[in-house]
Point group: C2
Chain length 214, copies 2
DNA sequence: AAAGACATCTACCTGCTAGTAGTTTTTACA
DNA sequence: TGTAAAAACTACTAGCAGGTAGATGTCTTT
């Protein structure tokens, strides 16, 4: 098999436990997820066949089955990307940003907005196709999502308690902020009029305005 | 065929051109659209079979084909409901509400929010499944949507020009307000903690805050 | 270079689903 | 009540898509 040697996961020096073989596997899994995500985004999960995904990668269907149990497992992998990255960013900000609540909120919204733009297709597929997940995958991913929503709600609550956000703000506003963020991938286009930076700045301002923290 | 005699479209006295027969047809078309909308909402368009839709109505597949050209035509009918109602409301408000720009914006957002909650399933199906429309239906419905977005943008622009909204507001904010509205059906549940009225009040406040018109 | 292990493919099955042809039932009206 | 037209149904086809069994190719190791 010919492999792009410049890929991140290949040039990075090997660390402790990870064997070269498992890195190859991870690389292929990743390529499958990328290709599937793109096709599911364009045609929808149910209308997109595994033959489509395979031919996009110039391989065959049984190739996919040697890396994923079934079609649904590929969807689960896609759904997990966006939400787990967002959660990682959130926890990173909570751990390292020790400024005002306002600054923390702005930072989280900015970084999550960036992920949502970077991972646009993943996020859209996640939102649209989650119902096709198996019960187990569905529960697992919903837990991640709830953890995220809960922590954002906490941030708002603390900001209100500290007097930095307007006191008539309901932590429920976190849902609306989530809405702003989730809405981006349905209309943002990298080839559109607005740059990603512009959109993110708007997003941050809008979120702060909703939180009453301008 | 047994028909619910209490249905609106049947007890309403006949008007001028519409024949009784065409009212029957409209009634059946409507029932098909309702049932299909519900099932497409739950299982997704592609995964939902026409046999599913038929059996939901206790009829058979060829019955559907005598009222719709094909599966896609049913989807088009569903997609059209929400957006054309929203457009009707918008034009009604623009024609009759002659108060401040702030009042107009609040009224449009309130009424469209109400539609989005009433027609929740239609709106979700519209957002999720639009890409499965034929090229013609897609263009037709996109035109309705653009008309709506454009008019909202106009409202904001006028509000800014009149000095009622903050001058640093970009009409692009209309996209964000659209996001707030479109977001509702993905999380609102009539059996949830928040009542429809509460949600709509929040929505209106959030929209005004985004427009800088508090 | 031979052998075994591993990766990938060819070729297939099975069940499903959009769409249809032709028959039966129901309705409308005389 | 008889008849024609309209409405709905039964029974079918053709093609597709998820999933698999077994064959083929390709490395590694000795």
């Amino acid at each position: 098999m010919t492999v792009a040697v410049s890929s991140d996961s290949l040039i990075r020096p090997r660390v402790s436990g990870a064997s070269l073989k498992s890195e190859f596997v991870a690389f292929k899994v990743n390529r499958i997820v990328e290709a599937a995500s793109h096709l599911f985004y364009e045609r929808g999960y149910s209308s997109c066949t595994l033959d489509n995904v395979a031919s996009q990668l110039s391989v065959t269907k049984p190739f996919l089955y040697s890396y994923f149990k079934n079609k649904e497992a590929i969807l689960a992998a896609i759904c997990e990307v966006g939400i787990s990255e967002a959660l990682a960013v959130l926890e990173d900000v909570l751990a390292h940003e020790h400024g005002s609540h306002r600054a923390r909120l702005a930072e989280v919204v900015r970084k999550v907005g960036q992920i949502v733009i970077d991972r646009q297709e993943y996020v859209v597929v996640y939102q649209r196709e989650m119902k096709h997940l198996s019960a187990e995958d569905y529960k697992r991913i919903l837990r991640l999502r709830h953890s995220f929503d809960h922590q954002i709600g906490e941030m708002i609550r603390e900001g209100v308690a500290s007097g930095e956000f307007r006191e008539d703000i309901d932590p429920f506003i976190a849902v609306w902020i989530g809405g702003l963020i989730s809405w981006i991938p349905t209309w943002y286009s990298s080839s559109g009029q607005r740059s990603a930076e512009e959109v993110i700045e708007y997003l941050v301002q809008a979120a702060l305005r909703l939180a009453g923290a301008e």
